[in-house]
Structures are given as structure tokens and as C-alpha cells.
């Protein structure tokens, strides 16, 4: 097996050998490796197939920008993870990884045929091709696209790992632990500011930490040595927290940031167990210092995507940090000085290399150093093609013309086993722009830079466009002093010697003798978009960068175009003949690198996924086989199936028994608002449509609450407990909003009213007993209470004790039956319920759920706010004019009741519907028409509630129908998928129109 590990470094522990599997084969690496560095050490470059053309692809980078080396980790159905960047994954014993997007395997991939038919699949191929015939979409195109789309495989079992969230507050947050971040963190922390420094890597130091060029020195030491000292120093600072393996995912307004900390992803499986895998940090910082550095740009030339072609600086890191060389015969292709550092480093380790430089000449210290070492440099040359299928084996270079637009002279073929490319550097301005910052364009080296516009956020170091070490350190120190309003002198006398880049030459799309249409100049490696695609999009009329991006999918892969966006912009600008700075950029959206769903949800999984509210009686419902319905956050019994009943049968039984004998409903979830104060009556007058001043103490009244636009908002019964004390009930779902709305009016419109509102929904449990036998049951529970109609009539309230616990008893009715509601302090709710059930046994007291409640209410034509109303219904639309006071001068929504729109006679109005076939039950939501032949069919309304009534032995429905009030007796049609149902408009009250049952 080849070994490309050619020297020892302090970051690789050669005493700790780690075995891992890649595509089923076992390899070895060392502790400190990433999967990528370990693969390279084993001579493996080819790690995947490209997305569209299935071209062989190799490792390109050593960090978060990696477009190719994304792999599937593990094979267990609940733990496997797709799209993991091998360049970021730390190696551990037993790691299993495999390449993605290839079948049957990475070396021989059937999809590779796409590469040869590529002229047939240009940009927008899918948009253009899968348009017609329409019938093909569902059966042919979609399955085909689904088969070939996507990269890795999602896990199919629930994630067994533990994730966590943590909220923290800091004076200063420093993002990035490179040289500028370390300086910034030290200055902040030494000035007594509580500081957090985060870095996504395992150790601090950025790219300076492995820097070993003699021409770059700080205080007479190698810059890496100097920085190691600094790191030792900051670790001693007590008010500095350092979080490594932590990357900022999102930067929101008000300096609120999300960071993901990796806790166990680098550990072998047995050590991961029962530990928190990842933690999401929710950070609030008074000030944020962005020091995220920059990433190297590739160059765009023909066949620039072969395995063995990497970013030049990544070759350097693999060599000096991991001790691994990416080849034995390396060519570096550059337009700037940084490749020379790589070249010199390689040379010193005995790796033969030559440089191809776009620039006509260059003269910095680094270049002189390379020249003096005898490294061959081809100035003013360009790579025009590369060769080798599974790995590069040679390339072709040509001389550049004076203007750089064409190539001249003879082709020179150079053999190599690795090509490093360096197209300059792109500052990582993601954090700055995510926070709302704007960008400036610097023409000189074609970079977008943060435009400073905030007193609580700043960018320093190379993410701010400061590239050489002297510049970085000097500017960082000055800016931080100013930003934090401090006067730190630590770096006053630091002596920095570094090479200065003097010459620049940038060409976004490198010239070639071959016509563009016949080349493969990749811009976005992960989504396989080429320079040709961009030009095609422009030719087809796309101008906005946002449109070109979407049409060509450039920058839309999981790497979000970290390597490709600048080139796409540059080529658009060049082609369209506009200045790049005026084009703007695409939007930098969070997350910076993909996050796992586990991290986002943290502990809120399973039963903690959502808040659940349960009544005191909940356990009884569970024990008695209730099916539950979610109403807001509440779990309400829906129905109680007995002996294997289905829902229909259970509801029929419950409904019948509630009207024939007795039923009991857990009504604890209804909103309850305690209203007190000398102006309580006046307040109710203003919020309900009916009059309240004359309600006697001990009496109850039903009220309808409107919005200011006149539409029904909520309803419920309110009880006058004493002179200045009311208890209001609201719908279950509306409770919180009603309270907010009432508080709003009290605090902002009517502050003069002496009224206090308190939510007491959770304080009381409520059992509602209805039916002809309810009085007898009440009598058993409260033997001393006079239940006579004279003493305790409908719509009144009494207090009594159950054992010695106070109860509030209201004789009010949900269902149109004689009913009592017993309210007791919540802690006694369960006991109350059990006592009711016990007392009701001889009367077949039947617990019923929300479904039966709805059915019983529908029989009586009692509306359910939110089911029969939808925010567009006035009281008049509901045929409830009787509840709107004509005398009151004002109440919420009154004025809107006679707006031109609300008095229209052809509004949708609530009516009853009876089906011609009494067994036919309508579907809720079904459309209502009068004529099915005319086209377009005129839609008159829809069904809101529909049931089979066991008490009437026929189907009943409520519906809203245009001009419904005038249509009684009229025939209408409900067209369904396979039949038309004939119905007759009826009254909304189907049962007991005279309300005799209330006093039965």
C-alpha cells in the first residue's frame, strides 16, 4: 500500500494508529487525521462522482468549502449520516465511510455515461425537457428524477443520539481562532470583558499554526511558534471561554447567533454512547468580532475537476499539518504569491514541483526564495487542459497573450500526479452579511469586503481583506482598540517580517484555443455547473445573478457555492460587460455549513416535541379508553370507544345516551377569565354584543364577542359571581387570544376602567353533566342544594360544598339539555369526576367527548366558533341577530355591523341542510351549488358541520350559503366525486325548537 505520509508533525500522533473503512476496505490513519488526510495518506484521491455528469472527483480542499469529498458515514439505519465532508470529519477507530452518488461503485459508475451525453444536458435541461406531455410527469419524469437526484441516503430510523441546547450571554464573541481572532480575544478578555472564542477546528491557530516559512517571522520567531505562545497565554485568561469544534451556523439580528458544538463526532462508537452528540449554542453577545478568514479560489480552465487537482493551500496544509503529500510530482498553478509558500514547503520536504503563474512576472520575497531554490516557474502561462481519468497524470500549458484573452505559442505537456490551483483568496463575509451588513467591492484583487456600518459588529483579519501577516496584525489591533474602546498596548512592539505581494492578475475564465462549448471548465464542482452553462443562461436572457444562480444551480449545493460564487459573478460581469462590484452578490443564507436536525430540535423530541396540556381528569380518560383530539395544546377526549366500537358507533351511543338519560363532558379546557373591578359590568358591555348591566348576581349569560371588523371572534357564558366579580368562559382554542385582546382594550383604549383580568383556566376543573337525569345526579352529589327550577333556574349559579370542598355550580347548557357545570379547584378535579361517574352509574351517565359535543350542538344549531365561523361571519350571518343589542351605544365591532359590506344581503349565511336521503351524511367542507350544468359552476357556499343524528334518526348539517337566510325550503346540490347529493335548506335548529328540554 502506498504511503504518502512523508514526515512527522506535532498534530499527528503516530503512536496512535486508527483503522477505518472506506468503501468497504480497511485503511489506517493516525489520531489527528481527518478522513480526507487519512485517505490522501493512503494515496486515495478519487472519492465520489459528480452530481450530473458522474465524473470522477477527488478531494479539493481541507475545510468547510469542500465540494467533492462528501460521504456517507456508517451504515446503521438510525445512525447513518449523508453528506459529511471528509475534510472536516476527524478520524476515529472503527469509522465507516463510503462514497456517494455512484453505482455500482466509485471506480466504475454507470451514470458516467452522462459525461458523454453532456452536450444534451445543458443548463436548464430539466426545465426545458420535462415540460410535456403533462401525463408523463407523474409516471415517468418524477420517478426518473427522484432516482437520479440527491446525494447520500437519509437515515430511516429515529435518531438515538442526544442533542442539547444552551443559552449564553457574553460581552464579546470572537468567531474564528486564527491569528486575528486570537489577538482580538486576548485584547477583549484582558480588558475584563467576558469573552467567548469559537473555532470550528479541533485546535486554534487557523492557517498560521502550521506556517513555517523563514521569510515570515514575528518577533524573530516563526509565525507558528509565536502564535503557539499566544494560544498558551490566552488559555490562562479567566474570563475567556474557548470553544473548539464549534462553528457558527447563523448570525441573526441583535447579535443573536447560533453555534453548533461537536462533542462526540470524533470519538469511536463505544465512547459516543450516552453522551451528548452536538450542542446548539444560542449566543447573545454585546459585541461580535468576526475573524472567519478567507478561502482559496480555484481557477476555471478546461477539465479543472480531475481527482488530484486541489487548492494549493490545501496541499500545503496536508503537508505541514498532517505530514501528507498529495503527490510526488506536483504542479502549482497560480495567479498570486500564496502558491509559492506551498511550493517552498514541498521543496523543503523533497517533493518535486513546478509553478505555472498567470502573471507576467512577480518580485516578492517569496518568489525570490522560490527562484533561489531553483524551483521552475512558468510566468505568463496558463493551464489549458488536464489528462487522466481517475486521477490527473499530465497537463497542457500555453503562453498567455498580452491582454490575457487568448493563448499563444506552442502547447507544452507536463506530467504530474497532482495539481494545486490558487486563484487568490475570497474573504468569508458570510457572517457579516447574515447580520445585515453590506459589502464593498475592491477592484484591485476582486474581493467583496465588509462595509462597516455597525457599532456592535466588526470584521478583522483576512475576512476583512487584510491578507499579509503584518497587515492583519496591525489592523486587527487598531480596529479592536477602537471597536472595544480600549487602549491595549500588548502588540505595540511586535516586530513582523513578511513577504509582500506586489503583483496581481485575475482572469475568471481562463482562455483556451478550444471553443468554450467543447470544454469542461467547472465552476461549481458539487452541482456540476460549468462556465458554458453560465454563458448559456446569459445568452438566454438571464441577467440577475439570483436568476442565473437558480437556472444553472451554481452555488446551490450543500457547499452553497463557497468555491464557485465569485467565479460565476466574475464570468457574468465579464460577459455582460459590467463592473463586478455593481452586480451584487447572491444572498448568504444561514446555516454556514449544514446542521443536523438533531441539533436544531435538541431535547424537544418525542413527548417533549410540543407542549401538551392535560386536564386533572386526563388519567381517567386514558384508563377509560378515550381517543384524544388536540385542541390547541390541550388533549381533549374525542370519544370513548367501548368493546371495539368505531368512532361512528361510539359517538352515536354517547349522543343518544346524553339526551335519553345523562352524559358527562370534561369541560376543563374552556378558557376561564376572572374579571373583577368596579367597572366590570361596563367592561362586559363594551366587549360583548349584548347588554350586561342588568345581569343579576348569581346569573349567567351567553355572550358573543366580535372583532372590531364586526366578525364573530369568540363566544361563551359569563357568570356574575358578585357585584364586581364575573367569571368569563371562552372557547378552548381562543382563551389566550381573548385574554390578550381584552388586555389590549383595557390597557390602551379604556385605561380609565377599573377592571382586572386573570386567567384561571388552569385553576378550575369542570365537569359538565347533561341530560334528563342530570338533576338526579346533582342531587346525589349535593343533597343540600335546592335544585328546583324556582331556586336554581336555567342560566344561574350556586355555590356549594362537595365533601368540604367549595364548588361553583352553573346551570348552563352546551347541548340544549338540562345541564349543570361543576367547577372545582383543579387539584380536586379527578376526584370530582370520579364522584360524578359513581353517582351517575344508576342513570347510565355516559362520558362523551368533543365529537359528541359537536353533534349535540349541531342538533340544536348552536355554533362552534372556528368550525361554523371562519372570521368572515357576522352575528347576522349566523342568524343570531337576537344577541346584538340595539340599545347599546357602542361595543367592539358595532360600527362594522352596518358597513356597506356587512349589510349586503347576499353574504354567506348559516343555514341548516337536510339530505333528501336521510341516511346520507354530507362531508364537512363540501361545496354547495344550485346547478351543476352551467359552467363555470356557481359556488354558493360549503358545509361546516355534518352528522348523523341518532336522536332524530336522520342526517343533519349546518352550512354557510350565499343569501341562505332567504332560501329555506329550496333544493340545493352537493356535487361529490362520483355523485350529486340533493339537499333542502332548513332551519338551523333541528331538535327541540321550543327549548323544552332545558327544563325537562
Amino acid at each position: 500500500m502506498p504511503n504518502y505520509r512523508i514526515h512527522k508533525t506535532e498534530y499527528i500522533d503516530e503512536t496512535k494508529r486508527v483503522s477505518f473503512k472506506y468503501d468497504g476496505k480497511t485503511y489506517f490513519g493516525y489520531e489527528g487525521d481527518t478522513l480526507a488526510s487519512a485517505l490522501l495518506a493512503n494515496g486515495i484521491h478519487l472519492v465520489g462522482r459528480s452530481f450530473k455528469y458522474h465524473r470522477p472527483r477527488g478531494i479539493v480542499s481541507c475545510g468547510a468549502e469542500e465540494p467533492n469529498a462528501i460521504c456517507q458515514i456508517g451504515s446503521k439505519k438510525d445512525l447513518t449520516e449523508p453528506n459529511v465532508r471528509a475534510t472536516e470529519l476527524e478520524l476515529y477507530e472503527g469509522l465507516e465511510a463510503s462514497s456517494q452518488n455512484c453505482w455500482p461503485n466509485v471506480k466504475f459508475d454507470i451514470g458516467g455515461i452522462n459525461n458523454f451525453i453532456s452536450p444534451l444536458i445543458p443548463a436548464g435541461f430539466y426545465y426545458k425537457t420535462f415540460m410535456w406531455p403533462k401525463s408523463f410527469w407523474k409516471k415517468v419524469y418524477e420517478p426518473l428524477i427522484r432516482l437520479s437526484a440527491g446525494l447520500g441516503k437519509s437515515p430511516t430510523g429515529p435518531d438515538p443520539d442526544i442533542y442539547d441546547h444552551k443559552y449564553v450571554h457574553y460581552d464579546v464573541l470572537v468567531i474564528g481562532g486564527g491569528v486575528s481572532g486570537i489577538i482580538a480575544a486576548k485584547m477583549a478578555a484582558k480588558n475584563n470583558l467576558k469573552t467567548l472564542l469559537v473555532d470550528d477546528k479541533k485546535i486554534l491557530g487557523g492557517s498560521t499554526i502550521y506556517q513555517n516559512n523563514e521569510s515570515i517571522k514575528i518577533d524573530d520567531k516563526l509565525s507558528s511558534e509565536w502564535l503557539k505562545n499566544e494560544i498558551q497565554e490566552i488559555k490562562k485568561l479567566s474570563n475567556l471561554t474557548i470553544k473548539t469544534r464549534t462553528s457558527i451556523a447563523a448570525y441573526h439580528g441583535y447579535n443573536f447567533l447560533l453555534a453548533k458544538e461537536n462533542l462526540t463526532d470524533h470519538l469511536p462508537e463505544e465512547k459516543k454512547k450516552n453522551k451528548i452528540r452536538q450542542r446548539l449554542w444560542k449566543i447573545r453577545a454585546k459585541k461580535v468580532i468576526i475573524a472567519t478568514g478567507s478561502i482559496e479560489r480555484p481557477l476555471v480552465f478546461n477539465n479543472n475537476d480531475r481527482p488530484g487537482i486541489l487548492l494549493s493551500n490545501s496541499i500545503n496544509k496536508y503537508l505541514d499539518y498532517y505530514g501528507v503529500t498529495c503527490g510526488e510530482n506536483i504542479i502549482l498553478f497560480t495567479n498570486n504569491d500564496s502558491a509559492y509558500e506551498t511550493s517552498i514547503s514541498l521543496h523543503k520536504k523533497g517533493i518535486k514541483n513546478i509553478i505555472v503563474d498567470l502573471r507576467k512576472s512577480a518580485s516578492s520575497e517569496l518568489i525570490k526564495q522560490a527562484e533561489s531554490l531553483g524551483i521552475k516557474i512558468y510566468f505568463n502561462h496558463v493551464v489549458t487542459n488536464t489528462f487522466g481519468y481517475r486521477k490527473i497524470n499530465s497537463l497542457e500549458i500555453m503562453k498567455l497573450s498580452e491582454d490575457g484573452n487568448t493563448t499563444i505559442g506552442n502547447k507544452i505537456i507536463l506530467s504530474c500526479d497532482c495539481l494545486g490551483m490558487s486563484g487568490g483568496w475570497t474573504p468569508m463575509v458570510h457572517m457579516h452579511t447574515q447580520s445585515g451588513g453590506k459589502l464593498d467591492f475592491r477592484d484591485e484583487d476582486q474581493v467583496f469586503l465588509p462595509k462597516e456600518n455597525s457599532e456592535d459588529q466588526i470584521s478583522v483579519g483576512s475576512c476583512n481583506g487584510d491578507f499579509d501577516l503584518e497587515n492583519i496584525i496591525d489592523k486587527t489591533v487598531n480596529k479592536i482598540n477602537k471597536f472595544l474602546e480600549i487602549d491595549n498596548q500588548d502588540y505595540q512592539d511586535t516586530n513582523i517580517i513578511c513577504s509582500k505581494e506586489n503583483d496581481k492578475r485575475n482572469i475568471w475564465l481562463l482562455p483556451n484555443k478550444i471553443p468554450l462549448g467543447k470544454t469542461k471548465c467547472f465552476i461549481d464542482f458539487q452541482n456540476d455547473s460549468t462556465a458554458k452553462d453560465i454563458k448559456l443562461a446569459l445568452k438566454e436572457g438571464f441577467r440577475s445573478i439570483e436568476h442565473v444562480k437558480r437556472y444553472t444551480t451554481t452555488g446551490m449545493a450543500t457547499d452553497q457555492g463557497k468555491l464557485s460564487n465569485m467565479h460565476a459573478l466574475g464570468i457574468i460581469a465579464d460577459t455582460a460587460g459590467v463592473k463586478m462590484g455593481t452586480l451584487g452578490t447572491t444572498t448568504f443564507r444561514p446555516p454556514f455549513t449544514p446542521l443536523t436536525f438533531g441539533t436544531l430540535v435538541g431535547r424537544n423530541v418525542g413527548k417533549f416535541f410540543e407542549v401538551v396540556r392535560k386536564t386533572s381528569m386526563h388519567e381517567w380518560h386514558v384508563e377509560n379508553n378515550a381517543e384524544f383530539e388536540n385542541v390547541g395544546q390541550w388533549k381533549r377526549p374525542w370519544y370513548y370507544p367501548k368493546n371495539g366500537e368505531n368512532m361512528h358507533d361510539a359517538v352515536q351511543r354517547e349522543s343518544k345516551s346524553a339526551r335519553d338519560s345523562a352524559g358527562i363532558l370534561d369541560a376543563s379546557t374552556l378558557g376561564k377569565i376572572d374579571i373583577q373591578g368596579t367597572d366590570a359590568s361596563e367592561f362586559l358591555n363594551r366587549v360583548y354584543t349584548n347588554a350586561w348591566s342588568k345581569l343579576a348576581i348569581g346569573k349567567c349569560r351567553y355572550g358573543l364577542m366580535l372583532n372590531e371588523d364586526g366578525m364573530v371572534y369568540d363566544d361563551g357564558v359569563t357568570t356574575r359571581i358578585s357585584e364586581n366579580h364575573y367569571l368569563m368562559t371562552t372557547t378552548t382554542g381562543g382563551a389566550a387570544n381573548v385574554l390578550s385582546k381584552l388586555e389590549d382594550y383595557l390597557q390602551t383604549e379604556w385605561p380609565e376602567l377599573d377592571v382586572y383580568l386573570t386567567s384561571v383556566t388552569d385553576h378550575y376543573s369542570t365537569a359538565s353533566i347533561c341530560g334528563p337525569n342530570s338533576k338526579k345526579i346533582l342531587n346525589k352529589l349535593f343533597p343540600n342544594l335546592d335544585l328546583s327550577d324556582e331556586n336554581f333556574p336555567h342560566m344561574s349559579f350556586k355555590e356549594d360544598k362537595l365533601k368540604n370542598i367549595n364548588c361553583r355550580i352553573m346551570r348552563i347548557s352546551f347541548t340544549g339539555e338540562l345541564s349543570y357545570e361543576i367547577n372545582i379547584e383543579s387539584k380536586y378535579g379527578h376526584s370530582l369526576w370520579k364522584m360524578c361517574i359513581e353517582a351517575g352509574k344508576e342513570f347510565n351517565l355516559t362520558p362523551y367527548g368533543t365529537e359528541t359535543m359537536h353533534l349535540l350542538r349541531a342538533e340544536k344549531g348552536f355554533i362552534i366558533v372556528g368550525q361554523d365561523t371562519d372570521g368572515t361571519m357576522t352575528p347576522s350571518d349566523l342568524q343570531m341577530d337576537w344577541i346584538v343589542s340595539k340599545k347599546k351605544y357602542d361595543f367592539i365591532g358595532k360600527r362594522s355591523l352596518y358597513r356597506s359590506d356587512t349589510v349586503r344581503e347576499d353574504r354567506k349565511q348559516l343555514v341548516g341542510l337536510l339530505t333528501d336521503d336521510p341516511k346520507e351524511v354530507l362531508e364537512e367542507g363540501a361545496q354547495i351549488v344550485s346547478d351543476v350544468k352551467s359552467k363555470p359552476i356557481d359556488m354558493l357556499g360549503h358545509v361546516t358541520s355534518s352528522y348523523f343524528s341518532p336522536n332524530l334518526n336522520k342526517s343533519i348539517a349546518l352550512a354557510v350559503v350565499r343569501s341562505g337566510k332567504t332560501m329555506k325550503g329550496q333544493k340545493l346540490i352537493i356535487p361529490m366525486e362520483n355523485k350529486n347529493i340533493n339537499v333542502t335548506v332548513s332551519d338551523t335548529i333541528f331538535l327541540d325548537k321550543e327549548n323544552k328540554r332545558l327544563n325537562a
Partner: protein, 93 residues
């Protein structure tokens, strides 16, 4: 995610609050005297300003108090916070 300085509780996360739209729209004292147009003006018409906007917020998961906020909608900066019934700060117009 805003950090809102509730005039009663101090700085709290935005998730504790709910927004109540434009501030200083007074409910007419005599709605019945208004024409449809005048009532519609009160009921429906809201400014949608890019720049300095006066708006109402409710500390709904805190003290339940309503209060006013001056916010620059172009950059989401909250410039001032004041209680209901107080006059808006004069330096923002």
C-alpha cells in the same frame, strides 16, 4: 431575534413578546357618528413605513403589559421604548 427592553421587566428575548401593529391609532370615541370611509380609515388603513415606525408590543409571556416601541424598519433597530399613554419621544418623527 430582537432584544426588547420591556419598560416593566427590562431586556427580554423577542420570543416573549407579540407584536400589535402600528401605535397611536386611537379608537374613535363615537364610532356611530362616522361614515363608512372614516370607520374604514380607522379599521383598515395602516402605514407600512420603511424607516422609523411607531408600533405596539405586548409582553405576552411576561408581564402581559402593552407598550410602545420606536423601530427603524430598515435595520430593525429599536430606538426607544415607552409606556402606553406616554407621549412618543419627540426626536423621532
Amino acid at each position: 431575534m430582537f432584544l426588547i427592553n420591556c419598560p416593566f421587566c427590562g431586556e427580554r428575548d423577542q420570543s416573549e413578546f407579540s407584536s400589535g401593529g402600528e401605535a397611536h391609532i386611537v379608537r374613535p370615541k363615537q364610532p356611530t357618528e362616522l361614515s363608512d370611509d372614516e370607520w374604514a380609515e380607522y379599521l383598515f388603513m395602516r402605514k407600512n413605513i420603511k424607516g422609523i415606525q411607531f408600533e405596539r408590543w405586548n409582553h405576552v409571556h411576561g408581564c402581559r403589559k402593552w407598550f410602545n416601541v420606536v423601530r427603524d424598519t430598515s435595520n430593525d433597530k429599536i430606538l426607544s421604548v415607552y409606556k402606553m399613554g406616554e407621549k412618543p419621544p419627540v426626536n423621532y418623527k
